[in-house]
Symmetry: C2
Subunit: 365 residues, 2 copies
Amino acid sequence: LKFAVLAGDYIGPEVMRSALRVLEKVAAQDGLTLDYAEHAVGGSAIDAHGSALPASTLAACEAADAILFGSVGGPKWETLPPKEQPERAALLPLRKHFTLFANIRPGLLYPELREASPLKNERIPDGIDIVCIRELTGGIYFGSPKRTTALEGGADVEAIDTMVYRKSEIERIAAVAITAARSRKKRLCSVDKANVLETSVLWRKTVSDYVAAHAPDITLSHMYVDNAAMQLAREPNQFDVFVTENMFGDILSDEMAVICGSLGMLSSASLGARQNSLGNPFGLYEPAGGSAPDLAGQGLANPCAQILSAALMLRYSFGLEASAARIERAVRHVVTCGTRTGDIAFGGPAVSTEEMTEAILATLG
Amino acid sequence: LKFAVLAGDYIGPEVMRSALRVLEKVAAQDGLTLDYAEHAVGGSAIDAHGSALPASTLAACEAADAILFGSVGGPKWETLPPKEQPERAALLPLRKHFTLFANIRPGLLYPELREASPLKNERIPDGIDIVCIRELTGGIYFGSPKRTTALEGGADVEAIDTMVYRKSEIERIAAVAITAARSRKKRLCSVDKANVLETSVLWRKTVSDYVAAHAPDITLSHMYVDNAAMQLAREPNQFDVFVTENMFGDILSDEMAVICGSLGMLSSASLGARQNSLGNPFGLYEPAGGSAPDLAGQGLANPCAQILSAALMLRYSFGLEASAARIERAVRHVVTCGTRTGDIAFGGPAVSTEEMTEAILATLG
Ligand SMILES: CC(C)[C@H](C(=O)O)[C@@H](O)C(=O)O
Ligand SMILES: CC(C)[C@H](C(=O)O)[C@@H](O)C(=O)O
């Protein structure tokens, strides 16, 4: 299994170590060989190489079948202009370069961890189990024109961003959403703003037509994005899988994440249009949370999000469903049995990153 | 006080009646004369006049100093194309026609109503008290080009929306936000996506410069919109006043509304660039919630949002701060003392729209 490891800043390398140990163990058990190396990315890459995504890192990713990503950024680089900050300067070029158009984020909260959610327990008696599919290479992130100009006379200034979607871009993300819904309750909610946006009118029609033509077994509904922001906070489990465009997905997936309690538990997959050498989608796998500068260096970070991201890598880019599911079950077992890092301990005894990792390794057998 | 009454559909006219009774009472007490008439809007206007915003209604609004708006839309018109649906077809032209650029939405949850919020009680021990200021006539709602075209060869289709902001548009909403923050804790958070959008880079710079030049007494911070969606659900009271562009405000203000519990309690003001005949801002005042078709005709809707919207009209368009504050105190008194419609009764005894209104009138003295 050939993948590039981009651990990044602060807790990034700490939790990455845990994920690699878990992968090593599963590989040994399942007779797989790991072939990976670490490459600089993010703020530490800015410091060492003058770029958040050095050419050597990009080349290493090119040569791999998947990218296991940690997290980047932190106070040290917050004084940089917003567009040069490590997260933005590393992730956006990676997404564009590899056409990572399908961001899959499980919104999973085990019932035992309900206390971690800001929502009242009775709203989520069985925890939360939904999936957000976000289009990741289109829309207002990459459309042009995108510029700022002084207006005639020079007194005023005008800035412009362009949101663009093609039918073909919408169809390929709809296909991913259908696959996700098929593996679950077969309910898909497409989120847009078709009462205001032309791109959303095209989005709604394309998703409707595509589901009608290719997935009559899926129950499709549509919801405006403002309403979706309400419904997520009100009753998240009314969703099964929801799919939306890039910017809406940025906002809603983060709202979903916070509602699911700890960012330390949430993984994500960003699948590319291109197939890797195994005929599976090339992909980038990363925790939903950030580099947590306040926690770094203490060995206290929750490694689960990174470990679960590695499981997603096995599932999607290496086609190893059984190995992926085994990791997911091990994490769930350990956490629900009460081995918890501080972010999910609710004042009870908290373990270290190392202890959490050991517990998961032990559960794997 | 000359205002146009646009009650709209379903519960719109029911709660409007309550608001008008409250206004009549306050007018009698304060020696004011009300001068208003009702005009068709929304779905019922589509049915009666073939337009969600008939020319006669628009003319009546033109001749008034403010608009008291109910709510529009419902299942009957949901089969219309998204852009012809009553809410969209009535509100967007009104906003544009009167340049209602400043949408002010109080996010207020009395501590006694904490049960109504989806958030755990301990997250909001004192309820919620924040304000969202949304830019309402710019951005991606109105920018051009906004079109869908078949691409060469005819196999694919492309849709485009344009997000545009001018410095001058950002300055005028910053001024409104500063005024709001000054009347409160003097903390202003500007929400944008400056790591991705040109319009947000201009937004951030303009707000920063404007606050530095005109309001050194205000503590300004900046937050990315995805993070704001998280922070609102995590700990809403970390905000005092937040200000954001049109589309982000659409999403965040609705998220804020649901976190504040009942839509039946939330009011809003949309202030125009133009002064009315009294030298105050022309404005449109409406509840944050919708027309609630399921509740309509039963006399059970919560009239508070409409009554509080009428109070905002007195404050902003008529300069009657004392009268506005008296209404707000009366509503708060009645609700916190336990007179509650079904939406905020938590299974306890619920009163009718009429009884709620009577209680507020009685409290007004
Ligand atoms: C860093 C930023 C550009 C990025 C985005 O907006 O997509 C991040 O918020 C995310 O969601 O991965
Ligand atoms: C009806 C719709 C166009 C409108 C908007 O998006 O602004 C509504 O959602 C609102 O927030 O008032």
